[in-house]
Amino acid sequence: MKLKATLLGAAAILAMAGAAFAERGSDGHVNVLYWQAPSILNPYLSGGTKDLESSSLILEPLAGFDEKGALFPRLATEIPTVENGGLAKDLTSITWKLKPDLKWSDGTPVTSADVKFSYDYCKAPDGGCAQASKYEGIKSVETPDATTVVVTFDAPKPNPYLAFVGATSPIIQKAQFEKCLGAAAPTCTEANNGPIGTGPFKVVSFKTNDTVELEANPNYRDPAKPAFATMTLKGGGDAEAAARAVMETGEFDYAWNTQVNPELQTQMTAGGKGHFVNGFGTLVERIEMNLTDPSSDLPEGERSTVKHPHPILSDINVRKALSMAIDRQALVDVGYGTAGQPTCNLVPAPEAYASDNTGCLKQDMAGAKKLLDDAGWKPGADGIREKDGKKLHILFQTSVNPVRQDFQSLIKSWWTDLGVDVELKSVDASVFFGGDAGSPDTFQKFYADVEMYANNFDGTDPEAYLAGYKCDKIPSPATQWQGENINRFCNADYDKLAAEMSATADIAKRGELAKKMNDMLTKDSMTIVPLVDRGRLSATSNTLGGVVLNVWDSELWNAQDWTRTK
């Protein structure tokens, strides 16, 4: 017994020693594939995921999110809370402490001035900072000493962990970007493509939309990390080719966002060179109902505005019936396989904010028909239901994307069965999501009855996301069709809840509010019909250790812990 324990202990020590004595750079080279290649390594100038995640290897925020969505300190010593005194009781200021002796990859010390500069950089007028929303509501950022940063808010901030938290809001080096403020930002190509950072890697060379060559940051704060001496981050091609390069040819160790159809997933896994990793965040494929009338008979400027409620979708029974007729599991099987799961929620995660609403998961065609019958929508001679001379005719639009077109035709068949006449339309993604106020085909203009796309929120807090459905966020000609309230949903109670949430710090209470708001949008009103909670699906080589897929922050959040296992 004793001997066994000793042996086990020795083994444990050995194992730990292995880890503890691992040297920086001892594992050679690692190849990472982002089929959408980074265009720039400055996240403040680009909102693109590929750019954010690539730069997260180099630039770090004060704190990040782990795979469970929990905050953990990166450059900060600890997460400031009311308990530890870092967060003011009235929620109007937060004080961050930098780890001691932090160095930039060029060897110079990281100071609070760099943190403040990052804020100034994004706030500079005419810079077009993509992350400006992270720094909203900040009155000042002060630096009482070299390692202390005090952020003061205009008003109590229940979620103070926006600025300097997560890959979207990292710290950049003042010395490097000082001359690049505002309109001068694009002139600093060298800095934008090769930022000096504190992360595990530093840029050796950057080729736009092609390849980033990186090497271990010699000044990384953990002297044993990263295990890889060099990294190539390559771009180009498509998701399928990227998956093959890891799963079948073994040329790459890690490939991002390898969303391929379920059949291919199985086939590639059989290759034996790698495996898929998935994680579920907040990305929800949903159908949005237009509560206003998109009819082309209306004068331009009045289509899809609150002036004209939708003739048929204003009836909640129709919306409910449409949702009930959908078999969400079938959609998952067809489109996503292991990378998706059916959901009834707009906010499917994190746990604290996710409602337990599962009512929609089972398709109920009979119930849906009955609901319409009872509501007076009776099938006409042509089998299309009608009421008061209004026919259930629906124009269903989405972006051009094979999975979405599969979904469209499946849903059309269910709705046709229900007695609804469905017309399908697909718009090129660059137009649909382009936000061009001059185009009739943007998802914001919503010149259709229902539309399907996916959206999510950044980080773990849904406050801003849910606030997007307030009355004042309705896109209209007056706002150049900008605004997140795509459905033109407007409910005073909802707005009240949103206001309450913005003033509530207590996590439990916030969760309660979020769930309530989620339910108002989904199961109570079926304004939003969630379909699939879309996970991230990435491919990793069997010889790459330490990969933990994180959907709350950059996928490359823990590249410093990656190792070669064989």
Partner: protein, 335 residues
């Protein structure tokens, strides 16, 4: 000849300006926005500011004139400044890509090397195999060699490169593991091992593209050779008692190459244009991939600049082809 070339170039200027305007308007009118790739998590107000920072909210003619100025004045003078250390256009904005927020010409500079190595090699290899095949096919018209050549040329010409490319990858990269499926643009050739790696990664795209190029050029060579082989002067050469080698390679080939050389010259702008499909299939990330990426991202300055450069190259190589024709064929004189 010189005056002819100059006159042609002068005449090309209004054409090119018109082309540039047409491209600009086409790209601008095409639906889509540079913001379409930005995730929806970025709020609308921020998007508007980003567009403003790019200058993409300006009226189209303002942007066009600005682009003209940047293309014809700022960019060339920037090169001058770099070369001579002068400060002519210091601080003036160069053509900035919406995607990278950096100068378009930096991207082009990064992309040219791999395009030239891969696509250029493919073209060269294509020409080098096409011309002898064309010669021999014509010399032995209707032989099995010629029939085989015709068949392969037909395949090369009619089967699209995205098909042959993917097929090659599946066979040689995925099943056999002989060649990589993804091109490494940062590979530097320093020793035998890296040279071998370079050759291996170039093998498949070069094979696919050169098959395609060779198909066209070998057909041209063949028909041009056939046309000349039947000419009396070939009989004259034989009657002179010249050896078959001299007859075919000196008399027939030299005359046959005149149209072939011009076709080859006209194909050269295509090298710079990159092979959009092949580059994407093999992830070569050259100019072609940059163009298609820019089109997807609605990166107007990049699309405009690239397409305009292609237009200029096409005009220039047309002129070069004409001049070459004059040089090679004494019957043609430009005076």
């Amino acid at each position: 000849m010189l005056t002819y070339a100059l006159r042609r170039l002068l005449l090309a200027i209004p054409t090119l300006l018109l082309i540039s305007l047409v491209i600009f308007l086409l790209v601008d009118l095409a639906p889509g926005s540079p913001m379409s790739e930005i995730p929806l998590t970025v709020p609308p107000e921020v998007r508007l500011k980003m567009i403003a920072a790019m200058g993409a909210d300006q009226p189209v003619f303002v942007r066009y004139v600005l682009w003209l100025r940047q293309f014809f004045w700022v960019e060339p003078m920037h090169q001058v400044d770099l070369l001579f250390g002068s400060h002519i256009v210091e601080g003036q904005q160069r053509i900035i890509s919406y995607q990278t927020r950096g100068p378009v010409f930096t991207v082009i500079g990064e992309r040219i090397p791999q395009t030239l190595t891969v696509i250029g090699t493919a073209y060269l290899v294509g020409v080098l195999i096409a011309v002898p095949i064309g010669i021999y096919s014509a010399y032995r018209q209707y032989s099995w060699f010629d029939q085989l050549g015709t068949f392969i040329a037909m395949l090369g010409y009619s089967v699209p490169t995205f098909f042959t490319g993917v097929l090659m990858i599946v066979i040689f990269a995925i099943k056999l593991h002989w060649f990589p499926s993804i091109y490494n643009t940062s590979l530097k050739v320093t020793d035998w091992a890296s040279l071998l790696a370079q050759i291996r990664q170039m093998a498949l795209p070069v094979l696919v593209l050169s098959l395609f190029n060779a198909a066209e050029i070998s057909r041209y060579t063949r028909s041009s050779m056939l046309e000349n082989l039947g000419q009396d002067y070939v009989r004259t050469a034989r009657a002179k008692g010249m050896g078959e080698g001299t007859v075919v390679l000196k008399h027939v080939l030299r005359n046959s190459l005149i149209p072939v050389v011009t076709v080859i010259a006209l194909g050269i702008p295509g090298i710079f244009g990159g092979a959009i499909i092949t580059e994407n299939v093999f992830k070569v990330n050259g100019i072609g991939a940059a163009l298609i990426g820019a089109i997807h991202a609605n990166d107007l300055p990049m699309v405009q600049t690239l397409t305009f450069i292609f237009a200029v190259l096409i005009v220039v190589f047309n002129l070069i082809a004409d001049i070459l024709y004059g040089v090679l064929d004494p019957r043609i004189r430009y005076d």
